[in-house]
């Protein structure tokens, strides 16, 4: 294995780890804005990995377009959540939802 291919494998691994770390933040962060930031990090990591993997430019462009779509939609959701729940913290939002649902009669 050549030196360049080892370097590119390491670069892919790093970029992939970066992307996965962003994804983990997106899944686990309590704050919705942090989730969106996590997505941004994950997307950047994925783009870097694609670049190292020499993926076609069209895939990178598609990734950017889709990322833009998610972040726009996420921004809109943050605003609506703030209006609806007066909070963007998911534990508070979930608690509020549980309060909204009528108590269920157990079997």
């Amino acid at each position: 294995m050549g030196e360049s291919s080892i370097l590119s494998a390491v670069a892919v691994a790093l970029a992939g780890a970066f992307a996965l770390a962003g994804a983990v933040v997106m899944l686990l962060a309590a704050n919705v804005a942090k989730k969106l930031a996590g997505f941004g990090v994950a997307l950047l990591g994925a783009l870097a990995a694609l670049a190292v993997l020499q993926a076609p430019g069209a895939l990178l462009a598609a990734a950017v377009a889709v990322g833009f779509g998610y972040i726009s939609l996420g921004g809109g959701l943050v605003v609506r959540l703030q209006e609806g729940y007066h909070s963007v913290e998911t534990p508070e939002i979930n608690r509020a939802d549980q309060g909204d649902e009528p108590a269920e009669r157990r079997a």
Binding site: A19, A55, L59, L77
Partner: protein
């Protein structure tokens, strides 16, 4: 006239993808709710007719490249899964849209044009993903569909809980898109091409990398299909969405993702360099979904959440069948896809028609809403794999295929799923027919079209459970195309 028909048939795949997009644009600019709804119904109905016609009469050479454009990204590739699933998903979408008629009289009637537009965009996305032959195009199509679905759930929510559901879908979509991108990048690097048709012919320079790429892509789709254990979003999102939103997610979006996994498996598993590793990953995911979904459905107290978990179990069966990579496996997977659609429609439209959320609200439903009860019961029996239902047929075909391949453990997993089905399906039936509502339940039945959708799904599932020859023939023809196209 016949020249028009010939033209339509010649460009059927392009029409199937383009018509909902045009419908979405028209609905978006429509000034009236009813007009937007009519445009949506006509688009779906038209696409369903073309898709059926194409599946029955227009089946060309497998893998034929057709098209919107000769540019690689938008080249359309027709195969067995697209032929089988396109009519199914469009019909399912049509029934969901018909069932949503009552929704337009809801809290935000002015949003109807946007809702219909997003609905058609979502449908177009999944249909495009079924017909596109290149990874980049498929990625764009899937993400378009998913973003539209998130918007739809947020817009149709009858309470603020819908926003929370949309948020969960956004998170899942984001993670899924990153996984897909990483997977697609690995596939490009390993195979030198992202074209599905060329995959079997291309020389895979790094089989492990390609296997990892396909596995990541399938995980990304499994997230969106609500496959357990990647389905943490499904229960809360379905539970918080409106009846219409939940039906759309369950019967169109999740089904679209599941079908796409089968389609990708069809190409990956006939590429000898990656078949073994990919099959193991797919089978493990399928088996986990079957078992985890079944167990979670046992404890669900919300009808839509229960649907989400039970459907995850069914989807697991689809994945297991596809993982076999054989003709019998693909045929079994497609029969189960039909069972999945029927159960999703019956449960979600039935629940929406009767206006029930919590399972406790089902008590004595047979007296209050006999037709919705019949639809939910038909779906529950199918989930239980009661004999003479489409659910039984699907599982039987899977077990047959699995035993043929020596996968006895898969047959065991199916038996466990059926056993769990007896308990959660039986619980629904018991509450509907053998309990009295002890307190006044504030349900808001929607009636009309929603009943019709639920009943059509239930009747179709029952009829094809009793006389499944046409469905089995269609699944066999599609499976032959899958194995033939990839060979």
């Amino acid at each position: 006239m016949s020249a028009w028909f010939d033209l339509t048939r010649a460009h059927a795949p392009a029409l199937i993808v383009a018509a909902p997009l045009i419908g979405a644009a028209l609905a978006f600019v429509s000034p009236w709710s009813r007009l937007a709804w009519a445009i949506g119904v006509l688009s779906c109905g038209g696409v369903a007719a073309v898709a059926f016609d194409h599946a029955i009469w227009g089946a060309g050479a497998p893998g034929a490249e057709l098209g919107l454009s000769h540019h690689m990204i938008l080249a359309l590739r027709y195969d067995g899964v697209s032929a089988f699933a396109a009519p199914l998903i469009t019909t399912s979408a049509l029934l969901v849209l018909l069932g949503g008629a009552a929704h337009w009289r809801g809290p935000h009637p002015g949003a109807t044009p946007h809702i219909v537009s997003l609905f058609l965009l979502c449908l177009a996305g999944w249909l495009a993903a079924l017909f596109l032959g290149e990874m980049i195009g498929i990625f764009l199509a899937i993400e378009t569909a998913w973003i539209a679905a998130i918007g739809l759930v947020a817009l149709t929510a009858q309470s603020r809980g819908g926003l929370n559901g949309a948020l969960r879908m956004l998170v899942v979509g984001g993670v899924g898109s990153v996984l897909f991108l990483l997977g697609a990048g690995l596939i490009f690097r390993a195979a030198g091409d992202g074209d599905l048709g060329a995959l079997a012919r291309s020389e895979i320079v790094a089989p492990h990398m390609a296997t990892a790429g396909f596995t990541l892509v399938v995980f990304s789709l499994a997230l969106k299909a609500g496959v357990a254990p990647l389905h943490a979003w499904a229960g809360p999102a379905l539970g918080r969405a409106s009846g219409f939103g939940a039906a759309m997610i369950a019967a169109v979006s999740c089904v679209g993702a599941a079908v796409l996994i089968v389609r990708l498996a069809g190409y990956a598993l006939t590429t000898s360099a990656i078949a073994n590793g990919f099959s193991v990953a797919l089978a493990a995911l399928g088996a986990a979904s079957v078992l985890i979904g079944s167990v979670q459905a046992l404890g669900a107290s919300d009808l839509r959440r229960l649907s989400g978990y039970a459907l995850a179990s069914l989807t697991g069966g689809v994945l297991l069948s596809a993982a076999l990579g054989s003709f019998a496996g693909y045929a079994a997977a497609l029969v189960q896809v039909f069972a999945l659609v029927a159960a999703a429609l019956g449960l979600s439209c039935g629940a929406a028609a009767a206006g029930v959320h919590a399972i406790a609200h089902l008590d004595g439903l047979a007296r209050r809403a006999p037709l919705a009860s019949a639809a939910i019961t038909a779906s529950a029996l199918s989930l239980m794999s009661a004999p003479l239902t489409i659910g039984f047929l699907g599982r039987w075909r899977l077990v047959e295929a699995a035993i043929g391949a020596g996968w006895w453990w898969a047959a065991g997993a199916m038996v466990i799923a059926s056993l769990a089905g007896v308990f959660y399906g039986g619980r629904l039936v018991e509450r509907i027919y053998f309990r009295r509502a002890v307190e006044s339940v504030s349900t808001t039945p929607t009636g009309g079209w929603t009943y019709a959708s639920a009943l059509i799904a239930a009747i179709a599932a029952t009829a094809l459970g009793l006389a499944p020859a046409p469905l089995l023939r269609a699944a066999a023809a599609a499976a032959a195309l899958i194995t033939g196209a990839a060979a």
